[in-house]
């Protein structure tokens, strides 16, 4: 069909596989910062690992902008809620970078209940030549001091220091699923299953509740919040998605409590595809505004959809991620895979969208050419600097040599978390406890 030839345009130049994440820790979130210089990952053990892109250097042409570990720190620890007698998991659900305002980098990381603001600073100089203490820091014998000297800053090995600057606790009764920094760079929101709170980055002892969908009687509960995000440019707008597949765009100028949406985006159910699992597969697992701010990208179990903010009735584009699973929904319900929450991502120019799937496959869809490709993130099938080979899942009928049949897909190897560099064709793929970073060296004129 020409899929292979076109896929080469989206293929990536080389693979660098970072083995920094230990076997025990499943990666639970991946996020580039606003320049793409830094890449943060969070894991089930509450750790955050930050990678930094090495500047391209003529001396080492092979290490063209590769990512190396910059800092590792323990963000969250397991906690015990004494009032409810429940353990709070330390797993990092989301990381969001703050826009950089000075030499330091700051990020928000959250587990189910508590959000923390971390500041990452570099120290590459130290003062030497104190008058009152010697090189080891011991006080000098004053009789030996005969003249005054001015301490000078001397270069030292780079030290990256991380410190928790704020802890935003006790804001959520239910499990936090999203955080999003506002474009005003002063506030951010956190969303749990039933409520969304607005925080000021400098104030930790209170937050404003801006969405509350908890019914007066819990017996009337039929829908939960699954994801939310601020608009990239309009600081008063945000969107949240629900387990019933709807999106609500809210305007904070309209009211203090944004229970009433400004716009409701919902696609009517397709009667020909109706089943007992219709609602589960329509549940939106991720929502992302495009960089332009004009579109939204949503991921549900079988598709990714592009929505135009100006059209509420239906998405403008729908892409099938793995439609061959539609006939297997019963088994996937049985083994709980149908509840997996996949994320989605835009590329820098909003022309390509990406999402993960099973068998360590991930998919990319070019919105302009309408072509798509399936790639695999695994050590076995990729060597460093190899070009990724497109994969195909066959559903019966003609089978090519390297095709995988639907029945031999490994549902335990799933790619839930992916991220795309804000400007370049660099993607980060989390496959369970391994992080893959792919860079496209071949083609940048595609975009």
């Amino acid at each position: 069909m020409g899929e292979d030839a076109d896929a080469r345009k989206i293929n990536h130049g080389f693979l660098r596989d970072h083995g920094y994440v230990t076997e025990a820790d499943v990666i639970s979130t991946v996020e580039f910062n606003h320049t793409g210089e830094l890449l943060a990952t969070g894991d089930k053990g509450g750790r955050v690992v930050v990678f930094q892109r090495e500047p391209e250097s003529k001396n080492a042409p092979h290490s063209q902008g590769e990512y190396d570990v910059y800092s590792t720190f323990q963000s969250h620890e397991p906690e015990f809620d004494y009032l409810k007698s429940l353990e709070i998991e330390e797993k990092i659900n989301k990381i969001k970078w703050l826009p950089q305002q000075n030499a330091a980098h700051s990020l928000l990381s959250t587990n189910d209940k508590t959000i923390k603001l971390w500041k990452i600073t570099e120290r590459d100089k130290r003062p030497e030549g104190y008058n009152l203490k010697d090189e080891e820091g011991k006080l000098k014998d004053l009789s030996t001091v005969t003249s005054l000297q001015v301490p000078v800053l001397k270069p030292m090995d780079l030290m990256v220091e991380v410190s928790p600057r704020r802890v935003f606790a006790n804001g959520h009764t239910y499990h936090i699923n999203s955080i999003s920094v506002n474009s005003d760079c002063e506030t951010y929101m956190s969303a749990d299953d039933l409520r969304i709170n607005l925080w000021h980055l400098a104030i930790t002892d209170r937050s404003f509740n801006i969405v509350d969908i908890k019914p007066a009687n819990m017996e009337d509960l039929t829908e939960v919040i699954t994801a939310s995000e601020f608009h990239p440019h309009h600081c008063n707008l945000f969107v949240y998605s629900s387990s019933k597949g709807s999106l609500r765009l809210c305007d904070m100028r309209a009211a203090a409590l944004c229970d009433k949406h400004s716009k409701l985006f919902e696609e009517p159910e397709d009667p020909s595809n109706r089943s007992f699992f219709s609602e589960i597969i329509s549940s939106v697992s991720d929502v992302k505004f495009s960089h332009s701010g004009r579109y939204m990208l949503t991921r549900d179990y079988l598709t990714v959809k592009v929505w135009d903010l100006n059209m509420e009735a239906r998405p403008i584009e729908t892409y099938q991620v793995h439609d061959y699973l539609r006939s297997k929904l019963c088994s996937l319900y049985e083994n709980d895979c149908i509840f997996d929450k996949f994320e989605c991502a835009w590329n820098g120019s909003d022309s390509v969208i990406m999402t993960g799937a099973y068998n360590n496959f991930f998919r990319m869809f070019d919105r302009n050419t309408k072509r798509d490709v399936t790639l695999e993130a695994s050590r076995e099938s990729s060597k460093p600097r190899a070009v990724l080979k497109p994969r195909r899942v066959c559903v019966g009928g003609k089978r090519r040599r390297d095709d995988i049949s639907v029945d031999s897909l490994d549902f335990t190897r799933k790619i839930l978390h992916t991220a795309w560099h804000p400007a370049e064709n660099i993607i980060a793929i989390a496959a369970t406890n391994n992080l893959y970073i792919f860079q496209d060296k071949v083609n940048s004129e595609m975009h």
Binding site: E79, L83, C330
Partner: protein
């Protein structure tokens, strides 16, 4: 066998109603199979309804249920139940192990009864998620035998230190009580510690038989919230 006949009939109905082809289900004919799977994957293949009920049960047994998972399963169960109600009512078979017996009973029960039982499950959930005014019963209800810290009756104590910052939850107290849900104590659906689906010496079909003659609602509560039963009955209101 009666159960075989029942099973075949339900299979035919499901094939008519569902687009997905279900695998043939014979697990409850297998004497080795436990009445309740500890987790859904242990059930090789099952009718959708039973599977959903098991999932619901499993979800509620978690110390902190995943609300999204729970809501989706409950909604799916409602859909399934709604599609089954118009079909012929099958006679209940009390002598069967609890799970299939419960399924038969649910088929025979009214839509309202099931909805109410689902509603009660979610009430129970709000109790789990929210805070109780009386720490004592809450402490007793500790999930799955996890050792309970035993919060003191006085809520002004040091146990309310915020683990993150070490500060007293002064402002947090107001927010904490916001979610108190006392409807659990107002509800009269709670039965004293029930056998429900618990396998073990005290849970036998024979003992459940008198319970079956009570209101269907009570029985449903016993069965569906069996392992969540309080160690002792709640203080006020019951």
């Amino acid at each position: 066998m009666l159960s075989k006949g029942l099973k075949r009939k339900r299979e035919e109905e499901e094939e008519q109603q569902e687009e997905e082809a279900l695998a043939v289900d014979t697990w409850w004919l297998d004497s080795d199979h436990p009445a309740v799977a500890p987790a859904p994957p242990a059930v090789a293949s099952s009718s959708l309804f039973d599977l959903s009920v098991l999932k619901l049960h499993h979800s509620l047994r978690q110390s902190e249920p995943d609300l999204r998972h729970l809501v989706l399963v409950v909604n799916t169960l409602r859909r399934i139940q709604a599609s089954m109600v118009p079909t012929a009512v099958l006679p209940p078979v009390p002598s069967l192990p609890a799970a299939p017996g419960m399924a038969d009973n649910l088929l025979a029960s009214s839509d309202a009864a099931l909805s109410a039982s689902m509603a009660s499950l979610l009430e129970d959930l709000s109790h789990i998620e929210g805070l109780s005014q009386a720490p004592q019963p809450l402490a007793e209800e500790g999930p799955q035998g996890r050792p309970i810290g035993g919060p003191p009756p006085s809520l002004g104590s040091l146990d309310l230190l915020d683990p993150a910052t070490g500060c007293l939850l002064d402002d947090g107290l107001e927010g904490l009580f916001e979610d108190i849900d006392t409807s659990m104590y107002d509800s009269d659906l709670w039965a004293p510690a029930s056998e429900g689906l618990k396998p073990g010496p005290e849970g036998g079909p024979g003992e459940d038989a008198p319970e079956l003659k009570e209101t269907e609602l009570d029985y449903l509560m016993d069965v569906l919230v069996g392992t969540q039963a309080l160690e002792r009955p709640p203080g006020p209101g019951r």
